[in-house]
Amino acid sequence: AETGASKETPPVVLAAASLQESLEAAALQWAAKGHPKPVLSFAASSALARQVENGAPADIFFSADEQWMDELNGKGLLRPGTRATVLGNSIVLIAPKTSLVNARLDDPRGFGAALGDGRLSMADPAAVPAGKYGMAALKTLGIWPVVEKRVARAENVRAALALVERGEAPLGIVYATDAAASAKVRVVAVFPQDSHPPILYPVAVLKNATSADAQAFRDFLASPESQGIFRKYGFTAP
C-alpha cells in the first residue's frame, strides 16, 4: 500500500467502521476499472469527523449517520453539491442461533419476559448511531421503559453482536447487515422502518480534497453498479 504522490493520487476515504467489508469490495471493483485503488481508513464516524475538523488530508467522508455529516457541513468542510445519501439499512432483533428465545415487538411485557434476567445487548444509545436507532424504535414500540435498565451498551455494533454470539446476552439489536454476516445468531424480528428515523449513510467530497479521482469515486459510490455490491452485504437503497 502506497499513499505517496504520483500523478494519479488515489483518494483517501474516511469511512464508518461498519462499512468495512462492503466498501473494500466496492473499491476493488473501482480499481479493476484501471483507477488507482482508493485508500480506505475505517474508524468510528465520530473519530473520522473530528479528524476532518482538524485538517486531515482526506478526500471523501462516508459516514454512518447524518449527524456528523451535518456537523462538517455546518463548518463548511464539505465540497458544495457533493453530499449524497447512498445507502440505507435496517435494524433487527437477534438471539443466539442455538437459543429458543422468542420475543415479539408488539408485546412489551412479553419482550421483558423473553429477556428474563439477561440483558439486551445493543450499541450505546447515547453515542453510537445503531444504538440511537434501536432506542428510537424501542420507544416507538413501547418496549423501552421495560428494558431501559437492562441494556448492555456496547462500544459499537460488532461488540453488541459479539455479546449475543457468545450467549452472554439473550437478545440484541444490530444492523441487518451485521446479522447477515454472522453465522452464530438468528434474526428474531425486524424493526419496522417507521419505528425509527431512516438509517442512512451519506457520502461527500471534502473541501480540502486534492485527489483528482475524488469526485469520480464519489460518483461511483452513488452509481447503481456499486449499489449492487452493497446490496450483497445487506444494505438497502436509501
Binding site: 465520530s46 469527523a49 440483558r119 450505546d124 456496547a154 462500544e155 461488540a159 459479539a162 457468545r166 452472554e168
Partner: protein, 232 residues
C-alpha cells in the same frame, strides 16, 4: 454551580471503587509475580514473563475479548466461578475491576520487580543470622525495602485503572451504575457532536483523581524516606 451532576457523581464513585479494588486486589499478585521473576529461575519463566506483559502488548479490545471468552457466563472460568462461588462478572462492576486489574498488572509487576532486583540480599542474610526465618526476613527486610516499587506500582496501576477503557467496554459493556466508569462516560460524550465541554469536565475529574493518588504516594514515600538512603 454544583460541581458535579448526580450522574457524574455516580460515575466518579464507581470509577474510584473499580480502580481501588483493581489496584488493591492485584497488588499481592503483582508482588508474587515480580518476586518469582526477579528471584527464581524455573522452566517457563520466560513464558510467565511474556504472559504478564500480554495485556500491555495486545490492543485492549482484544484483551477484553479474551476476558469475555474466559470469564463470560459461558466461558470456562466464568461458568466455574458462577457454579462454585456464585460470582458473576459479566455486566458487573466486579468485571470492570477484573478488566482494570488485568490491564494494570504488567505495569505493577515491572515496577515492583525493579525494586526487588535492587534489594541488597546481604541484608536478608543478616536478618537470617539474627534469627529470622525466610518468611520473616522477607516481611521485615525485603518487603519494606521494596516499598518504593510497591508505591510506584500502585500509582501506575491505579492511574491505568482510572483510564482503562477498551478492555472494560468490550468485556462488560457500558452499564450505568455497574460498569460505566469515567473513560466510558467520556467516550460516550465524544461520540456526540458538541459535547466537548462535558468531556473536558470528566477528563479533568480523571486527572484530579490520579493527581490525588500521585500526591498520596509521594507523601508515603517521603514519610518512609528517611531510612532509604544508602548505607553500610
Amino acid at each position: 454551580m454544583a460541581l458535579l451532576s448526580a450522574a457524574e457523581w455516580d460515575v466518579v464513585v464507581l470509577s474510584l471503587k473499580v480502580s481501588m479494588v483493581a489496584m488493591l486486589a492485584s497488588l499481592p499478585i503483582a508482588y508474587a509475580l515480580a518476586w518469582l521473576l526477579a528471584r527464581k529461575r524455573f522452566p517457563g519463566r520466560m513464558l510467565l514473563d511474556a504472559a504478564v506483559h500480554l495485556p500491555l502488548v495486545l490492543p485492549p479490545v482484544v484483551t477484553g475479548w479474551l476476558l469475555l471468552i474466559l470469564f463470560g457466563r459461558n466461558g470456562p472460568v466464568g461458568s466455574w466461578l458462577e457454579d462454585w462461588f456464585g460470582v458473576t462478572l459479566m455486566f458487573r462492576w466486579t468485571g470492570a475491576a477484573l478488566a482494570a486489574a488485568v490491564m494494570a498488572l504488567p505495569l505493577m509487576v515491572r515496577a515492583i520487580r525493579l525494586s526487588i532486583e535492587a534489594v541488597d540480599r546481604r541484608l536478608e542474610q543478616a536478618a537470617r543470622t539474627l534469627g529470622a526465618g525466610p518468611i520473616r526476613a522477607f516481611a521485615t527486610i525485603t518487603l519494606p525495602l521494596t516499598l518504593p516499587g510497591i508505591l510506584a506500582g500502585a500509582v501506575l496501576g491505579f492511574a491505568r485503572s482510572i483510564g482503562e477503557f477498551g478492555a472494560t467496554i468490550t468485556f462488560v459493556s457500558n452499564i450505568p451504575g455497574q460498569t460505566r466508569t469515567l473513560p466510558l462516560a467520556i467516550y460516550s460524550g465524544l461520540q456526540i457532536p458538541g459535547m466537548d465541554m462535558e468531556v473536558a469536565r470528566l477528563a479533568v475529574i480523571s486527572v484530579i483523581l490520579s493527581l490525588a493518588a500521585l500526591m498520596l504516594s509521594e507523601w508515603l514515600v517521603r514519610r518512609s524516606g528517611g531510612g532509604r538512603a544508602h548505607v553500610l
